[in-house]
């Protein structure tokens, strides 16, 4: 009797393991090309594909995606609305106080985008109106390094682009691929100046998945899965679909 029970328990725990629930993952979409809705309504993008690959490694299922606005994304994680953030979140000290990060999985440069005719020069920002998304590293960079500029903070990237097109901003400062994608086909706007990745004190070590501090186990599993995907070529395959340059770290 004891043996059968033990065996039963063993089988149960095995099936429980195999039938692991899919991981609930938060993204702030649209944030192309990292996460956005395809014309048919499905969520796609670099992070969505990479995230699904990671979830497949761990649970043999795609992730259970939750769309969450950026400014509530950490409170939502802490409130257990989802278990992981996979949404271009840079590692920095302030966030480390609230969440646990995996190993970084990519790093993107930031860049200015401005009207072609405006003659915006990032070395002369005195009195210029520069749009950023609130509480991003770009926000910190402009606030700390370009004190002579006027920072205009937006809740969503869409609103920011609308104001750039409306002529209300001299430039926007965003993740380079995001800016490229948002202004695709708009000949009046172009990247202005060099891409920016320094200083590390602001831009951090890179982009990583975030977890609740007590979920050490899950964070470890995701780091292992990411390492495996980087080594076996899956990561490169997904990256090449979305980027002409390398963002791998």
């Amino acid at each position: 009797m004891k043996k059968t029970l033990l065996a039963l328990a063993g089988v149960l725990s095995l099936t429980a393991h195999a039938e692991m629930d899919s991981i609930r993952v938060a993204v702030d979409a649209p944030y192309p090309p990292f996460e956005y809705k395809a014309p048919d309504g499905t969520l796609t993008g670099f992070e969505v594909e990479l995230g699904n690959a990671v979830c497949q490694e761990i649970t043999k299922k795609d992730c259970d995606w939750v769309i969450q606005a950026w400014d509530g994304i950490i409170p939502g994680l802490l409130a257990r609305k989802y278990d992981m953030i996979f949404s271009s979140m840079s590692v920095n000290e302030e966030r480390k106080e609230k969440v646990l990060f995996s190993k970084p999985y990519y790093q993107v440069p930031s860049a200015y985008f401005a009207p072609v005719k405006g003659g915006f020069d990032s070395s002369m920002t005195k009195g210029k109106r520069i749009g950023v998304q609130r509480a991003t590293v770009q926000d910190n960079y402009i606030t700390e390094m370009k004190k002579d500029a006027e920072v205009v903070r937006y809740t969503t990237a869409d609103d920011m682009v609308v104001d750039l097109e409306g002529g209300r901003l001299d430039a926007i400062f965003v993740d380079a691929p995001v800016g490229e994608d948002m202004l695709k086909g708009k000949a009046k706007f172009a990247q202005s100046g060099e891409m920016v990745t320094q200083p590390i004190s602001i831009f951090g070590e890179g982009i990583a998945a975030a977890f609740r501090k007590r979920d050490k186990d899950l964070a470890e599993k995701v780091t292992v899965a990411l390492d495996k995907l980087k080594a076996n070529g899956t990561y490169d395959k997904i990256m090449k679909k979305y980027f002409s340059y390398s963002i791998k770290v």
Binding site: D71, G72, I74, P75, E94, R95, K98, R134, A135, V152, R153, Y154, T155, D159, V162, D163, E165, G166, G167, R168
Partner: protein, 237 residues
């Protein structure tokens, strides 16, 4: 005072920088609400008089204005004005762009028109509630329409409108929170910045709610005093 400074020293969120940010937001809120209320009040008086006119060509345009601005959400009105103007061809090169480039004036215009619409209707009600006897007496004295309006109807209508108008002032204060949706850093905008920076929604919004409450109580107090003075004849003895 020392205890307060020590508290500011020890907590992470409410340091001098963020308190300064809240202060700027406070100034912006007061400035926006006060100017829109003042301009709205000035506009609404002639509109209310027109609104009580029996001539449909005078009455209906004003009716249409108040109907539209009271019948649509303030947020939509703000979006229409803020984002709408940028779609006008060549506006960026025109002289008007000085006004519309920043979010402040579009916001002020939206708030002003909105409060003007509500205040017009408040005054219209007060004007129409003028006792018939007062008007007849004024007519019997041979007063012209203008004299009747400025000496009899409007002064008593303003007094009657005070309680309803104090509500409008408080609603306007609360509605001003939506200015933060178009990049204006008012009290709510400041709270959003600090919330996003420290991931502390409860602290930052609770603090700002306390500030709104104090402003509201101040407004209520002022109107209570006003009512005591101006509506003394209606108080029970």
């Amino acid at each position: 005072m020392d205890a307060l400074l020590a508290l500011i020293d020890t907590n992470k969120i409410f340091n001098l920088t963020t308190l300064g940010h809240y202060w700027d937001g406070f100034v912006m809120t007061i400035q926006l609400v006060a100017s829109s209320l003042l301009i709205g009040l000035i506009i609404s008086v002639p509109l209310a008089v027109m609104r009580t006119s029996k001539n449909p060509f005078i009455n209906y345009p004003v009716w249409f204005f108040t109907y539209v601005f009271r019948g649509t959400p303030l947020l939509i009105q703000l979006y229409m004005i803020y984002y709408g103007v940028t779609l006008i061809d060549g506006i960026q090169e025109s002289v008007f762009w000085v006004i519309f480039e920043r979010a402040y004036y579009p916001c002020l215009i939206a708030f002003t028109l909105n409060t003007a619409a509500y205040t017009t209707e408040i005054f219209r009600g007060a004007i129409e509630a003028t006792p018939k006897g007062e008007i007849e007496a004024a007519k019997a004295y041979g007063m012209s329409w203008l004299k009747r309006m400025t000496r009899i109807v409007l002064p008593s209508a303003f007094r009657r409108a005070i309680p309803a108008y104090s509500n409008e002032v408080i609603f306007m204060l609360h509605a001003s929170a939506i200015a933060s949706t178009v990049t204006i850093i008012d009290l709510t905008g400041a709270a959003r910045d600090i919330y996003a920076r420290y991931y502390a929604p409860f602290e930052s919004f609770l603090f700002v709610a306390a500030i709104y409450l104090s402003i509201t109580f101040t407004i209520i107090f002022i109107f209570k005093q006003l009512e005591k003075r101006l509506l003394a004849h209606l108080q029970p003895r």
